[in-house]
């Protein structure tokens, strides 16, 4: 029997650009052409002003650690506890859930508001997940 797998995202037409982006090593966000609001998760209209004129752009990939838990039990399939489930506040404004790599998964190491940068983790040939690591220097 195969090992239990980490949950795999299944893109929809409205989110496909995001997943195409991560595969290409880009974190793509959307900005409203009418009111300049930047938002996530993807949708083909602005959740702030309802305009359907929106653009996709490549985000800086920089952010801050907004909050997290360190999960011990029960662990999700494909995860070895303890692991942090983090929420990152992106430099462009929106927040996203993620994991923090290259960092001990401890309360001491995971300091709120620490600087983070995006990295990309390929799950298979279709899906690459954005994850974050502490910014060096």
């Amino acid at each position: 029997m195969a090992e239990p797998q980490r949950a795999r995202p299944k893109p929809t037409p409205e989110t496909q650009h995001f997943w195409d982006g991560t595969k290409a090593g880009e974190l793509r966000l959307q900005r409203c052409d009418a009111c300049a609001h930047v938002y996530f998760p993807p949708r083909p209209f602005c959740p702030s002003c309802a305009s359907r004129k929106v653009s996709v752009f490549k985000a800086s990939g920089k952010g801050l650690l907004y909050s997290y838990v360190i999960n011990h039990r029960p662990a999700a399939p494909g995860f070895t506890p303890p692991y942090a489930i983090a929420v990152v506040e992106l430099a462009e404004g929106p927040r996203m859930m993620s994991n923090i790599i290259d960092c001990p998964q401890t309360p001491e190491a995971l300091e709120l508001d620490m600087k983070l940068e995006v990295a990309f983790e390929a799950l298979d040939d279709k899906i690459t997940l954005p994850v974050f690591r502490p910014t060096k220097g």
Binding site: A7, K10, P41, S67, Y68, H72, M97, P107, L112
Partner: protein, 379 residues
């Protein structure tokens, strides 16, 4: 909605609470419904309005053998029943029905006749949250709490005191699952679940159910039990994605539903004699006390740690022991409502003397939804 025009005339929980491996989820609905019907001195055929969550109204109505003219299947998580009370009160006032039954039941522990919850891989949660290892409420609901604690200076000891104080209430309640006294040290030394939350800061997982019966206040005086009036109500939703909350320092749904109910009831915080705040996890009473406007968020931890919400304190909170010590089948809102009705009827195991106003505040699907009901025993 006008206040005090609709009343609770029947309220009961399932015959057993806790671990009930010999009863299906659907039968738990029926057991709670029949107990509430008996409590109200009614026949099933008197019920012409029905509401429930997770199970469909048609399923439960068919099983019970009732033919309502008004149904509500609002299912927004554990506070669905607060929303049902609000909707039922409006329906009764509008003349759509006369006598509403609201049921909840969940085989949360034994999983008998209960469909597993799953997150579709093409939903927004399935794409943007599940891949990061969230696994049920214990790893999702507490995600905001470290930010909340940093912003307001809430300590781990204060957060632990929520569980300690609620255990004091549970000790006075024969139906509570966990009654042994605990200390802050016990909480902080209990098994780690999802840092910063340990076992004793997480709700129990049990089987059970409850039901309420509502009718117009004018009819309510002819029922065997003392009526408990619906004084004010509020509801709202925010987001099913905990990562997308407006801020982690507060709940937008709490801040909408709670004050709406207070305004409708025409009450001030000092008028509240008894308070229930849905405590799936230990941080929720802190969010609730702040978002409902009882005090600034930064004072909430100290307020509870100082004993203000314990037996004999000035603001009795979660007097059945709460989801942390009483029971929690997965959707706790019905049990909070039951525990608001009891002291208004004067029959709570840990009765609050002379209580006239009880506020019951619910939350659903992490911070996705909220509903607040203000009850009173004086018309």
């Amino acid at each position: 909605m006008r206040k005090n025009q609709v009343a609770v005339v029947g309220a009961a929980e399932t015959t057993e609470l806790g671990i009930i491996p010999n009863v299906s989820q659907l039968q738990l609905h029926a057991d709670a419904a029949l107990n509430a019907i008996a409590d109200a001195g009614l026949k099933l055929s008197d019920i012409d309005g029905f509401a429930t969550a997770v199970e469909t109204p048609q399923q439960v109505c068919h099983y019970l053998g009732i033919k309502p003219t008004w149904v509500d299947g609002t299912s927004v998580g554990g506070c669905s029943f607060m929303l049902h009370v609000r909707h039922a009160a409006a329906a009764i006032e509008a003349g759509l029905c006369k006598t509403v039954l609201i049921t909840h039941a969940e085989s949360g522990k034994s999983m008998i006749g209960k469909a597993p919850r799953s997150i579709p891989a093409d939903s927004l949660q399935g794409q943007f949250e599940a891949p990061y290892g969230v696994y049920g409420p214990p790893s999702m609901f507490p995600i905001p709490v470290l930010r909340f604690m940093k912003t307001y200076g809430i300590t781990h000891e204060e957060l632990a005191s929520v569980a300690v104080v609620q255990r004091e209430w549970a000790a006075r309640n024969p139906r509570a699952m966990m009654k042994d006294p605990i200390t802050v040290a016990d909480v902080l030394n209990s098994r780690m679940i999802a840092y910063p939350f340990r076992l004793l800061q997480c709700c129990l997982v049990t089987d059970g159910g409850g039901a309420l019966i509502l009718t117009s206040a004018d009819r309510a005086k002819d029922f065997p039990r003392k009526p408990v009036y619906i004084m004010g109500t509020g509801e709202s939703v925010e987001t099913p994605m905990v990562s997308q909350m407006e801020t982690f320092n507060s709940s937008s749904a709490f801040k909408t539903a709670g004050p709406l109910a207070f305004r409708e009831a025409g009450i001030a915080h000092g008028d509240v004699d008894h308070l229930m705040i849905y405590d799936a996890f230990a941080h929720l009473p802190l969010f609730g006390l702040g978002d409902l406007g009882f005090m600034p968020h930064e004072e909430t931890g100290q307020f509870i740690a100082d004993g203000n919400t314990r037996p004999g304190g000035k603001l009795p909170l979660n007097t059945n022991g709460g989801g942390l010590s009483y029971m929690h089948s997965g959707m706790y809102g019905m049990y909070a409502l039951q525990e608001s009705v009891r002291p208004m009827r004067g029959i709570a195991p840990a009765q609050v003397p002379n209580a006239k106003i009880s506020v019951c505040h619910g939350v659903g699907s992490m911070f996705a939804a909220s509903g607040t009901i203000v009850f009173t025993n004086e018309r």
